[in-house]
C-alpha cells in the first residue's frame, strides 16, 4: 500500500523525467544523460575561488554568517549525555565574553542523544536539533531498521534528520533502491527537514556526485550533504562546488530550492570563507542563509570565534581563551 506522500514523490519524479513508470532504466538514462563534469576544469575553478581575498568588513560579515551556519557536531561512540549537553551549552553561548556572537544553526548528534540535546537547548533558542539516522555512517541495515531509526529520532524531538544513502546500491547502478529509501525516510521525517548524505568520498567521481545529488533532490531531500565525516576525503571544495551547481540548476528546472551541507574537514575560518565565496559565486546569494547552507563541523566554531575576537580586539588570544566543551578524545 502506498501512502499519499510516496505517490506525490513518485509522480513528481515521473513528471520530471517524462516517463510513465519510474523504472531503474528510466532513472539510469536520466542520470547518465546529465552533462558530465570535467575533473581538471572543476578543480581549477574551485582553486580560483580559493584565491578570493576577503578582508575587513566583508570578513566580519563572513565570520558571523559562517558561525550561524554551523551544525555543531559530535558523532562519537564515546559520546555521553554530559558531553552532548556541554556541546549544547556551547551552542547557546558560543563566546561568553561577547554575547553578540551568533549561535550556530544546529547541534548534530546520534539519535539516542536527541532527548539530551532537546532538553538542554529548550524550544526557544533558535538552535535546531539534528540527528543522524538510517544506520549512520555505513547505511548497512534493512529499510525497516533505517525507518525505525529515523522515527525514533523524530519522536524524540529532532528538527532535522541527516540520513545516509545506500552507496552500495548507488555504485552498482541500483538507483531505484536509493530513490525509494530516500522517499521512505522523508515520509517518516514528517515535518523534520531531511539532509541526504551522499558520502562523496565513496562515490569518488564528480559525475557520481552530480548524479547522486540529482537523485536525492528528485526523491525529495531538503539538503544534499557531502559526507559523514567518517570517510576521507570528506567535504572538499570541488565536491561542494558540483553540489552547488546541482542545486542551482535544480531550482531552475523545478522551482524547488534545496540546501547544501559540506561536512567533515572544514576546520579553519579561511576554509569556511572560501566555501561562502563559492556559495556566493556558484549558487548565488539566495543560498547565503543558514536555512540553505550549513557547515557540518566541530572544531571550526572555535577557530571562527578566535578570528572574531581577533577582529574585535586587534590581537590573537589563543586556543585556551575559547572554551572547548568537546575536545577530541584522540
Amino acid at each position: 500500500m502506498s501512502t499519499p506522500t510516496e505517490t506525490d514523490a513518485e509522480s513528481r519524479a515521473r513528471d520530471i523525467l517524462g516517463v510513465s513508470r519510474l523504472t531503474n532504466p528510466a532513472l539510469s538514462s536520466w542520470l547518465q544523460g546529465l552533462p558530465g563534469v570535467d575533473q581538471v576544469g572543476c578543480e581549477a575553478r574551485a582553486a580560483s575561488l580559493g584565491t578570493r581575498s576577503v578582508k575587513t568588513t566583508s570578513k566580519e560579515w563572513a565570520i558571523d554568517t559562517a558561525i550561524g551556519m554551523i551544525d555543531l557536531t559530535t558523532l562519537e561512540g564515546a559520546d555521553t549525555p554530559g558531553r552532548v549537553s556541554g556541546l549544547c551549552t556551547k551552542a547557546l553561548s558560543p563566546d561568553p565574553t561577547d554575547l553578540s556572537t551568533p549561535r550556530p544553526a544546529a547541534v548534530c548528534v546520534y539519535g539516542d542523544m536527541v532527548p539530551v540535546a532537546r532538553q538542554t537547548l529548550g524550544d526557544g533558542s533558535g538552535v535546531k536539533v539534528a540527528a543522524v539516522a538510517t544506520a549512520f555512517p555505513s547505511g548497512r541495515a534493512s529499510l525497516a531498521v533505517k525507518l525505525a531509526d529515523t522515527a525514533d529520532a523524530v519522536s524524540a524531538g529532532a528538527d532535522e534528520i541527516d540520513m545516509v544513502i545506500d552507496r552500495g546500491a548507488f555504485l552498482s547502478g541500483d538507483y531505484r533502491t536509493v530513490f525509494e529509501q530516500i522517499v521512505e525516510v522523508k515520509r517518516v521525517c514528517g515535518g523534520a527537514r531531511l539532509k541526504v548524505i551522499l558520502e562523496t568520498g565513496e562515490l569518488v567521481t564528480y559525475d557520481n556526485v552530480r548524479r547522486a545529488s540529482y537523485l536525492a533532490m528528485l526523491a525529495g531531500g531538503d539538503f544534499v550533504k557531502t559526507s559523514t565525516g567518517k570517510v576521507q576525503p570528506a567535504a572538499t571544495l570541488p565536491v561542494t562546488l558540483v553540489m552547488l551547481e546541482a542545486v542551482r540548476d535544480w531550482r531552475e528546472l523545478t522551482g524547488v530550492q534545496v540546501g547544501v551541507k559540506p561536512a567533515g574537514g572544514i576546520r579553519t575560518s579561511k576554509d569556511a570563507i572560501t566555501f561562502l565565496v563559492t556559495v556566493n559565486e556558484i549558487a548565488g546569494e539566495d543560498w547565503l542563509d543558514p536555512f540553505w547552507f550549513r557547515f557540518g563541523a566541530s572544531s571550526l566554531l572555535n577557530d571562527l570565534l578566535l578570528q572574531r575576537q581577533r577582529m574585535r580586539t586587534g590581537a590573537y588570544s589563543g586556543a585556551d581563551y575559547v572554551a572547548d566543551d568537546s575536545p577530541s578524545l584522540y
Partner: protein, 482 residues
C-alpha cells in the same frame, strides 16, 4: 546591494620603486639617448603618469646592436652551455624572488588584474627561464640536427599584452642557444622590461648579452632593419608582421613571427557544460581579451545554444571589473586609448551589422580605459566581429549543427593560431584536432601555456614556434649551413 560584498583588497604598490625616468639599457648599463626623445608611460586604469621613458634613436639602435655583437663574439658564443645555463637559472630565481614586484609593476603599467600577473604572467616567465636554462648544455641532444649553433645577434620586438611573459618567451631561448639580444618592449608597457634589465645586472649577466631599448614603431623598424641583426623575432599584429617580412625579404635574416588570431572555441552538445562555460570565459575575458590566441569566436552546437548562452550570461554577472591591483578583480583595464577606440569601433560595427549585443551590469571607473565584457549573439561568418581580430573583451557567438560544419566555420578565417574543442568524446577531439588549421588546439580547456609546449600559428597568424624543442630550433643553425 549584494549580500556578500567583497571589501577592497588592494595589493600594495610599495613593493616596487618606479624611477621618474629611464634611459636605455645598453652594454650592461642604463645610458642616455643620442638624439632620441622621451615619452610617458601611464597606468591605463587611472591615466596616471608612471614614468618617462626614452625613445631610442637610430644611433641608439646602432649602439645596442654593436654591444650585442661584441658580447656575442667575445663572450657569449665562446661560453660553454653549462655556464650559460647558470646565468639563466640565476635570472629565473631572481624573477621568483622579486615576483611580487614584477606582478605589481605589470598590473600598474598594463592594466591587467593582479591575480593574473601574480598567478600567470610572472610564474610562467620564470618557468620559461628555468626550462631553457636546462637546455643550454644539452642542445646537441635536442634533436635539432648536427652541430646546432647560434645565429648571432637577435632583434626582438614584443607586444603590450603580456610584457614580461613575451620578454621571457623571446630572451630565454635566445640566450640558452648562445645568441645575444636587443629587445624592444611595446611603447605602452616598457616598465617590466626595464626592471628585467636590473635583474640582468643583479645576475651579473655579461654586459651586452641583453640590451633593452624602448621606443615606438620607428625604433622597432630601425632594429629589425639593422644590417647587423642576424635574426628577428616578433610578436604582435599581423599588419606589422607583414611589414617586417617585407623589410627583411632578400636579406640573410631569419625570422619568427607570432601574429594575430581569431580562435574558435567549439562546444559540442555532450560537453561538460559548467567547465565549458568557464573555458569560454577564460578564453575571451582572460587579460581583457588582449590575447592573440583568445577564443573570440564561440561556436556552439545549435541544440544547446540557448542553454550555453543562459549559463554564460549568468556567469558573466559574477565577473568583477575594476582596479587591477585589487586581488578580487577578474577583468582589468584596456591597455590604451587607441585599443579602447578600436574595440569600441568594432563593437559598434557588430551592432550595426545586426548582431545582438549584451553586457552584464557593472560599474566602470570614471577615469582610465574600460570596456564592459561583451557578448554578441546572432553573429554570422560575414560580420566584421566574426572576421577581424578585436583584441578585447568581446565574444562573438555562432552556432553549428554538425562536426563538419564546425570545422569549416572554425577554419574560415585568415588566421590559424589556436582553437578549443569541448566534448566528452575522445575520438571526436582527435578527429577535430586533425582537421583544424590552428597551431594550438586545446581539448576541454583553453589558454593553457607551458614552456615545454610549442606555440605558434598557421596562415596569417605567423610562422615559427616558441617553446619546447621546436622553439629552440628557431634560434640555431645546424650542419654545414652558414
Amino acid at each position: 546591494m549584494p549580500t556578500f560584498e567583497y571589501a577592497p583588497a588592494p595589493e600594495s604598490r610599495a613593493v616596487v620603486d618606479i624611477a621618474s625616468s629611464y634611459g636605455l639599457f645598453i652594454n650592461g648599463e642604463f645610458t642616455d639617448s643620442q638624439g632620441g626623445g622621451t615619452f610617458k608611460t601611464i597606468s591605463p586604469a587611472t591615466e596616471e603618469v608612471l614614468a618617462e621613458v626614452t625613445e631610442a634613436s637610430a644611433e641608439d639602435v646602432d649602439r645596442a646592436v654593436a654591444a650585442a655583437r661584441t658580447a656575442y663574439t667575445r663572450v657569449w658564443s665562446r661560453m660553454s652551455g653549462a655556464d650559460r645555463g647558470k646565468y639563466l637559472f640565476r635570472i629565473a630565481r631572481i624573477l621568483q624572488e622579486r615576483a611580487r614586484e614584477f606582478a605589481v609593476l605589470e598590473s600598474l603599467d598594463n592594466g591587467k588584474p593582479i591575480k593574473e600577473s601574480r598567478d600567470v604572467d610572472v610564474p610562467t616567465a620564470a618557468a620559461h627561464f628555468f626550462y631553457h636554462a636546462g637546455w643550454a648544455d644539452k642542445l646537441d641532444y635536442a634533436g635539432l640536427g648536427p652541430d646546432p649553433r647560434p645565429h648571432g645577434v637577435v632583434g626582438q620586438v614584443i607586444p603590450w599584452n603580456f610584457p614580461l611573459l613575451m620578454l621571457a618567451w623571446k630572451i630565454a631561448p635566445a640566450l640558452a642557444t648562445g645568441n645575444t639580444v636587443v629587445l624592444k618592449p611595446a611603447e605602452t608597457t616598457p616598465l617590466t622590461a626595464l626592471l628585467f634589465a636590473q635583474v640582468c645586472q643583479q645576475a651579473d649577466l655579461p654586459a651586452g648579452v641583453v640590451n633593452i631599448i624602448t621606443g615606438a614603431g620607428p625604433t622597432g623598424q630601425a632594429l629589425v632593419g639593422h644590417e647587423d641583426v642576424d635574426k628577428v623575432a616578433f610578436t604582435g599584429s599581423t599588419g606589422v608582421g607583414k611589414a617586417i617580412a617585407r623589410t627583411i625579404a632578400g636579406t640573410r635574416k631569419k625570422a619568427t613571427l607570432e601574429l594575430g588570431g581569431k580562435a574558435a572555441n567549439i562546444v559540442f552538445d555532450d560537453a561538460p557544460l559548467d567547465q565549458a562555460v568557464e573555458g569560454i570565459v577564460n578564453g575571451i575575458f582572460f587579460n581583457q581579451g588582449h590575447v592573440c590566441c583568445a577564443g573570440s569566436r564561440l561556436l556552439v552546437q545549435e541544440s544547446i545554444a540557448d542553454q550555453v548562452e543562459a549559463r554564460l550570461k549568468r556567469r558573466l554577472e559574477t565577473l568583477r571589473v575594476g582596479d587591477p591591483l585589487d586581488k578580487n578583480t577578474d577583468v582589468g583595464a584596456i591597455n590604451s586609448r587607441a585599443q579602447l577606440d578600436r574595440i569600441t569601433e568594432l563593437s559598434e560595427a557588430g551592432e550595426a551589422e545586426g548582431a545582438t549585443r549584451w553586457s552584464p551590469e557593472c560599474e566602470l571607473p570614471s577615469k582610465g580605459f574600460w570596456f564592459r565584457p561583451t557578448v554578441f549573439t546572432g553573429v554570422s561568418q560575414t560580420h566584421r566581429i566574426a572576421q577581424e581580430e578585436i583584441f578585447g573583451p568581446v565574444l562573438s557567438v555562432l552556432t553549428f549543427r554538425t562536426p563538419g560544419e564546425a570545422v569549416a566555420k572554425a577554419n574560415n578565417t585568415p588566421y590559424g593560431l589556436s582553437a578549443g574543442i569541448w566534448t566528452e568524446k575522445g575520438s571526436r577531439i582527435l578527429w577535430m584536432a586533425d582537421q583544424l588549421r590552428a597551431g594550438v588546439v586545446w581539448a576541454n580547456t583553453f589558454n593553457k601555456f607551458d614552456p615545454t609546449s610549442p606555440f605558434g600559428g598557421y596562415k596569417e597568424s605567423g610562422y615559427g614556434r616558441e617553446g619546447g624543442r621546436h622553439g629552440l630550433a628557431a634560434y640555431v643553425t645546424t650542419g654545414d649551413a652558414t
